[in-house]
């Protein structure tokens, strides 16, 4: 009776370890995405629009543009096209 109970505990623990834990790759993914929100502004926006259709201000758009940006882009300078 006692031995049967002990076997169940061992098997259950093994199953939990094998199936319920994240793999190394999954932990890596988790570590590289530590936050659900991209930024404080993202969090604020989500909290503001928790129910119903989202309302977007012009400032939201500007922030989205800034935060989506890829850094300084290679582009022609206006001075190559126009003179003051």
């Amino acid at each position: 009776m006692y031995g049967k109970h002990w076997r169940s505990v061992v098997m259950g623990t093994a199953l939990l370890l094998a199936g319920g834990c994240a793999s190394g790759e999954e932990w890596q993914t988790w570590r590289s995405n530590t936050s659900h929100f991209a930024s404080k502004e993202h969090y604020d926006f989500s909290m503001k629009n928790r129910s119903g259709a989202a309302t977007v201000t012009r400032q939201d758009v500007a922030l989205a543009q800034n935060q989506n940006w890829f850094g300084k882009a290679v582009t022609v300078d206006q001075g190559q096209i126009l003179e003051r």
Partner: protein, 234 residues
């Protein structure tokens, strides 16, 4: 055909796709000043135009900021500039914008000529309607209008710098007036415009875009965004 390809190619705009961001909604944003200040012109003619139409240029800046939020007017991107390829103190009202859009693979696969044609069709006629007021069309010191648009050519690979393509369209005033009176089509507008293109900082030279009617600017709405009711977006 190209129009249909463009419709598929230019997909969701970055601003619309990434609008999970915000500040306090009560703080309605004023448009950042993108107008060249009158004291920065290098000739009396430019300065006089800048002073005379300062309010009109500010209105244009405000209108684009609120009514076409996916366009970002560059700093000092609005002014009576002299096109570099023209001789003499020739003054065009110029508008220089970045188009905030995610490049779909279909758009990236188009030839540069077709991308320039697509962007010309989409933005130049519509922006000219906002730029060319009756007063400006009648002003003898103004020779034409310039629309400069830059867009992301392709999604940059990880760690790579983004490269913008740019097209600058220079349109003589008489042609703009004819277009606005309905006496010239969008195709004729493109035929009569002088268009130059750049790939990043590399000049590609003059191009002859084809153009067609494109009502994207009139019909596109950023999800959830309503322009400030004080601004006339018509």
């Amino acid at each position: 055909m190209i129009t249909m390809r463009l419709g598929r190619a230019i997909v969701g705009l970055a601003a619309a796709a990434t609008l999970a961001l915000a500040l306090d909604p009560a703080s309605a944003a004023d448009a950042p000043d993108r107008v060249l200040q009158p004291d920065k012109y290098t000739s009396d003619k430019g300065r006089a135009l800048g002073q005379k139409y300062q309010a009109a240029l500010r209105d244009l800046n405000t209108k684009i900021y609120h009514c076409m939020p996916w366009l970002d007017v560059k700093p000092e991107g609005i002014g009576f500039y002299k096109p570099k390829h023209l001789d003499g103190d020739v003054r065009y009202l110029s508008l220089n914008v970045n188009v905030d859009q995610q490049p779909a693979p279909e758009f990236t696969r188009l030839s540069v000529q077709d991308r320039v044609s697509s962007m010309f069709s989409r933005y130049v006629p519509h922006l000219l309607r906002s730029m060319a007021t009756n007063d400006l069309l009648k002003d003898p010191n103004l020779e034409g209008f310039t629309v400069i648009a830059s867009w992301l050519k392709a999604q940059p690979a990880s760690g790579q710098q983004a490269v913008m393509e740019t097209a600058a369209a220079f349109v003589p005033k008489a042609l703009v007036a004819n277009f606005l009176r309905g006496q010239a089509t969008v195709a004729q507008l493109a035929e009569g415009a002088y268009v130059m293109a750049w790939d990043g900082e590399t000049k590609l030279g003059a191009m002859k875009p084809r153009a067609w009617a494109d009502d994207f600017v009139l019909t596109y709405k950023v999800a959830g965004y309503t322009p400030d009711p004080k601004i006339n977006c018509n």
